[in-house]
Symmetry: C2
Subunit: 120 residues, 2 copies
DNA sequence: AAAACATTTGGCGAACTGCCCAAAAAACCA
DNA sequence: TGGTTTTTTGGGCAGTTCGCCAAATGTTTT
């Protein structure tokens, strides 16, 4: 693995890592509709404003969102909405992986916490 | 944010988190070409076999790769190669984000470690 | 200038990650 | 059976993440 290739993989990993949190995905989806300020987002999310601000910083540092100060508020928006297209494929993975898990769970004896057929 | 939506976001985040490591991205790219066993992969990566095995476990648990035991070896392959298409967009983010960083760096005074124009 | 509002930053604890090493499992060969 | 190969698992250490709270910063209003 040469240096250049590694640098590219590291750059990709940084983006993915920045996205890899439910709250941050929620923010991205929300911002893909329209820009929003921190307080609006934290109201929707139901977490502390400081927590949401830090999530936004993570997204900003990764170059995923842009911020624009207007008055006392800071409005964020998604730099590249195409980033969400990707989830069509992710959903496929989730679906097939889930089905595999269920199959696995069915195969387990009840004593190991396996699901009963009737519960699925 | 309702329960169902949260569950979906968590599922997406799990996938992204599993992908968010340079070594695991390398594995995914490699497996998109052809299946490979653990020892072959760790030879390519240059890390301890146990480390690579754990990375593969992460990818497997996320449903991203499938494993198949043949003799004493375990061959892994990518469940859903479309998962790599996504990087066209990620690359755009990396590119524009990098450009923004450079612009930022240029704007910094040299005393803060800002780049000189001639160096870019 | 003081009060009110919006946001960011710092700090702390709990939980998680990633790496290496050593040991255990599993399959094969002689 | 004993030895070799391949892979997984467990332990320990250093570093990171995430959430809340408190405090600081910046902006607008009175």
């Amino acid at each position: 693995m040469n240096k250049k290739r590694l640098a590219l993989l590291e750059a990709r990993a940084r983006i993915l890592k920045a996205m890899a949190h439910p709250t941050r995905l929620f923010i991205m989806e929300t911002l893909s509709q329209r820009e929003a300020c921190v307080c609006k987002l934290s109201e929707m999310i139901g977490a502390d404003i400081s927590t949401v601000s830090k999530h936004l910083t993570v997204l900003k540092n990764a170059g995923i969102v842009l911020d624009e100060k207007r008055g006392s508020q800071v409005f964020y928006n998604l730099r590249c909405p195409c980033i969400l297209d990707f989830f069509d494929c992710v959903e496929t993975v989730i679906k097939t992986a889930t089905e595999a898990q269920i199959k696995l769970a069915r195969a387990l004896p009840a004593s190991c916490g396996g699901f009963k057929k009737s519960r699925l």
